[in-house]
C-alpha cells in the first residue's frame, strides 16, 4: 500500500479500525464522538517514545474527565522488531496500567493512511475529526517538567472553542519501522 499524503492540520483524519491488546476493536469515528481525540503513534522500543510515555499517560488521565478520548497506535514491523510484537504490547499494558487502548496496526495500513512518521507522533482531532494539532508532545523529550505542554495547550484551546495557538510542531522520534 502506498504512503498517503501527510495528515496535516485542517485535514479530516483518516478513519481507524484497530484491535487493542485484548482484541477489542476501536474505531474512529465512533458513535457519539468525543469533543477531542488524541491519537499518538508510539511503540515499545524507541527511547523517545519511552521518554515521553509517562507525560502522555498523565495527559490522558487529566483530560479524560473533560471528555477527551485517547488512542495509542503501534505500527512497527514486529517481525524485525520483536519488542513491538502484540505479546510485548500486551505485557506492557498489563504491567504499566495504561489508561488508554494500545492499538495494534499489524498491516501498517493506518500508519500509511495517516502518513505517521515517527514515534511518538501526536495528532489532536476535534469533534468533527479534523486535525487541530500535529507534532510532538512538547519541546524536549528529556525534560519531564515540560509536561507535554504543547499537547495540553492544544487540548485546552480546543476545549475552550479556540483554534490551538500552536497547531503544528516537528515530531521527533524514531522512524516507524516499515515492513
Amino acid at each position: 500500500m502506498a504512503q498517503a499524503a501527510a495528515t496535516k492540520v485542517g485535514d479530516a483524519a483518516p478513519g481507524l479500525e484497530l484491535p487493542d491488546t485484548e482484541g477489542r476493536v476501536h474505531t474512529l469515528p465512533m458513535p457519539g464522538e468525543a469533543s477531542a481525540t488524541v491519537v499518538v503513534w508510539t511503540c515499545n522500543h524507541c527511547p523517545y517514545a519511552l521518554a515521553w510515555h509517562d507525560r502522555l499517560v498523565q495527559v490522558a488521565r487529566d483530560y479524560a474527565p473533560r471528555g477527551v478520548r485517547f488512542l495509542a497506535v503501534n505500527s512497527n514491523d514486529a517481525e524485525r522488531y520483536p519488542r513491538d510484537s502484540l505479546g510485548a504490547m500486551r505485557e506492557r499494558v498489563d504491567s504499566e496500567d495504561w489508561p488508554f487502548p494500545y492499538l495494534h496496526d499489524e498491516s501498517q495500513q493506518a500508519a500509511r493512511a495517516w502518513a505517521a512518521q515517527v514515534t511518538p507522533h501526536v495528532y489532536v482531532l476535534d469533534g468533527d475529526r479534523r486535525v487541530r494539532y500535529e507534532g510532538a508532545p512538547d519541546a524536549d523529550h528529556m525534560d519531564p517538567e515540560r509536561n507535554a505542554d504543547w499537547l495540553r495547550d492544544a487540548l485546552d484551546d480546543l476545549l475552550s472553542g479556540r483554534q490551538p495557538r500552536r497547531a503544528e510542531t516537528e515530531p521527533v522520534g524514531c522512524s516507524i519501522k516499515w515492513k
Partner: protein
Amino acid sequence: MTHESPKVELLWWQGCPSWEQALEILREEMRVVGIDPASVEVREVRTDEEAGRWGFVGSPTIRISGRDVQPPDGEPAGLTCRVYRLRDGRVSPLPDRAELRKTLANAIQGGGE
C-alpha cells in the same frame, strides 16, 4: 608518563535522530579529558548484515577501546534505536554524559572500568 589515546568509535543508523547529538557530546567529552575529538571513528550501519557483523545493537553505539559505554544486556544485533538509562533512572536516546566522561578518562589511564 604519556598514554596512547584510546580508540573511540560511534556507530549510527539513520532511523534514529540522536546520533548527531551523541557525536557532539562525545567530542565535547573527549576534548575535556584530553583526547583529540577529531580522532573519533564514525561509522554508519546500513544493513542488518552489517549490524550483525559489527555487533551493533542500536543507534547510537559508542565504544571506547572496544568496550560499549553501556554494555548491552543481551539485546540482539539489528537496525534499531538504542535505549540508554541515565544515572537518575530516566530513559534516553543518549548515553549519560558523566558516565561517558568517566569511561573516557578511565580508558586514558588504561584502567578500563
